[in-house]
Amino acid sequence: MSTLLAVEGLRKSFGGIRALDECGFEVPEGTVTALIGPNGSGKTTAFNVITGYLPADAGTVAFRGNPVRPDPCRLQRLGLGRTFQQARIFPGLSVLENVVLGRAQPWHALPRLRVSGTDRHRARDLLEEFGLAEHAGSHAGTLSYGQRRLLEFAAVLMGEPVLVLLDEPTAGINPIMIEAMEQHIRRRHAQGVTFLIVEHEMRLVMRLCDPVIVLDRGRLIACAAPAEVQTDPRVLDAYLGD
């Protein structure tokens, strides 16, 4: 199994707080890797630095074997998609348009039709898969929070990513929706998409993910199979404290 994403020596401070401190880990291709850790351990910061939303103070990110300058637009085009902790969508656009936007366009495609026939076809298929087809024409802003999470995920998949970074995909949504989300992740994983998931719902992490990466105070403290992580004294210490 080759390494899809390799992070090395990542550092990021906010004032006096070190959110990431020589943080390094790898995401092997074809896995559903979890990134867990207590609150404030730097998980989301790691996501933001990797995808270029925050500049790193130091460290390198390599994607598909090549070092990359983190920039959200470029990374998307290289096959890295991400979702956000707060389920970000475009509330003023229709649900269908939200999905269509997930497919990156070359600059010379800008004068083309807003939503082309092929766009619509593919977006409809995705919406069908995510159970949002009946809302295709509504403002995305009218969707429930759980539906927004699904829509955000669907839009990312429209770009046919190789690696998807999901930031707490099940936060704030009901148990049925959590199950649905899990099914979607499993289905896409079976089709060859690699995942890196920040998640607090431990039962989900234990069933779905392997390996599990544990961060504490911006450092990597464990990276192993879920069963091992559960009994790792350092991990227990980080979560329970002393």
Binding site: F90, L110, V115
Partner: protein
């Protein structure tokens, strides 16, 4: 039908002051539509479009005085080159401004406007400073003097609306709307935000300069405080907000209501600047009562009404609550056009 009306209007209306008013209405409609490309579709609160208007006006004044394109109708040939040149020339400053957002962007855009005004006051060799430049009076017959300007403004308005329409129905428009809703996420989905923002800025500024050029030729005198006017920037925004800044025709509707009203108040209360108080009051009212503007509000009410009636015919009660809650105005295909 709108075009036919536009063409016929000055032929029906003979009074000079009436055609004069129409010229300004068309100009403001076009300016508001041009502003809307950046302020409405892209969501960047540009407050300094007076700068580009002034640049267009000065370019026209300097062009007719020095280049010698000839008077009369030939001077109108300068309008499109001025618009194009301004659109390209603003790119470096647009790049700088577009690195900021929201309030910072708004403040910087005002700053740019005052910078341009300061240049106009001080580059005396080019602009004659506070003396201003006069543009050669167009040799049109006195009885129908306004007509060529009216048609020039109408043509430019048509061009502006065509550009707006083309933007709205293209991937560019979708990308701009995404930038308006959530620029960071748009970037993460592979939207070339830098590029599309620059295109919107250039189109908006270029078209605005075109109107400035026609205006300069019409009023025959360009003066810094007059050509680069903060009130023009604000008035244009008010019109776009009133009509509906996410729509194609909103700015036109807004201008059609505000320009005549403003003229009326200015005439009624003289130069007492009382109309400015009315401006402010109207702005507050629009934001409180019609935050989406006239066109979207009416459209929403109409769709609600038609749905209510059709649904009532089928199932009397169950869906009424639904249709009241459901207030979008999107087509079946899922696009907002």
């Amino acid at each position: 039908m709108f075009t036919a009306l536009l063409v016929a209007l000055p032929l029906i209306i003979g009074q000079h002051w009436q055609v004069n008013l129409l010229v300004f209405t068309l100009m403001y409609a076009g300016l508001a539509a041009a502003w809307n490309l950046l302020g409405g579709y892209t969501g960047y609160p540009a407050l300094g479009h007076g700068a580009f208007f002034g640049i267009g006006a000065y370019a026209m004044a300097i062009g007719t005085n020095h280049i010698g394109v000839g008077a009369g109708y030939r001077s109108f040939l300068l309008v499109l080159p001025i618009a194009l040149a301004t659109g390209v020339a603003v790119l470096p400053i647009a790049r700088l401004l577009m690195r900021t957002r929201a309030a910072t962007f708004a403040l910087l855009s005002i700053t740019v406007m005052f910078m341009v005004q300061t240049f106009a006051y001080n580059l005396r060799s080019l602009t004659h400073g506070s003396e201003g430049i006069s543009v050669p009076l167009a040799p049109f017959p006195a009885t129908t003097f306004e007509r060529p300007f009216y048609y020039a403004m109408a043509a430019l308005l048509a061009l502006t609306l065509l550009v707006c329409w083309a933007v709205r129905t293209s991937k560019l428009g979708l990308s701009l709307n995404a930038v308006r809703d959530d620029e960071d996420r748009a970037r993460g989905l592979g939207v070339q935000t830098e590029l599309v923002k620059l295109v919107a800025f250039a189109l908006s500024a270029g078209l605005t300069a075109g109107f400035g050029a026609v205006w300069a030729y019409y009023v025959t005198f360009v003066f810094p405080g007059f050509a680069i006017d903060p009130l023009l920037s604000l008035g244009v925004i008010l019109m776009a907000f009133l009509g509906g800044r996410r729509t194609l025709w909103g700015p036109v509707v807004g201008a059609a209501l505000i320009v005549p009203a403003q003229q009326y108040f200015a005439y009624r209360y003289g130069a007492s600047h009382l109309y400015l108080v009315a401006y402010a009051a109207l702005f507050l009212l629009v934001i409180y009562l019609l935050p989406d503007g006239i066109i979207p509000s009416i459209a929403a009410r109409l769709t609600r009404l038609t749905r209510l009636t059709t649904r009532c015919a089928h199932t009397p009660r169950a869906h009424i609550a639904d249709s009241i809650a459901d207030k979008d105005s999107i087509t079946d295909k899922g696009e907002r056009v």
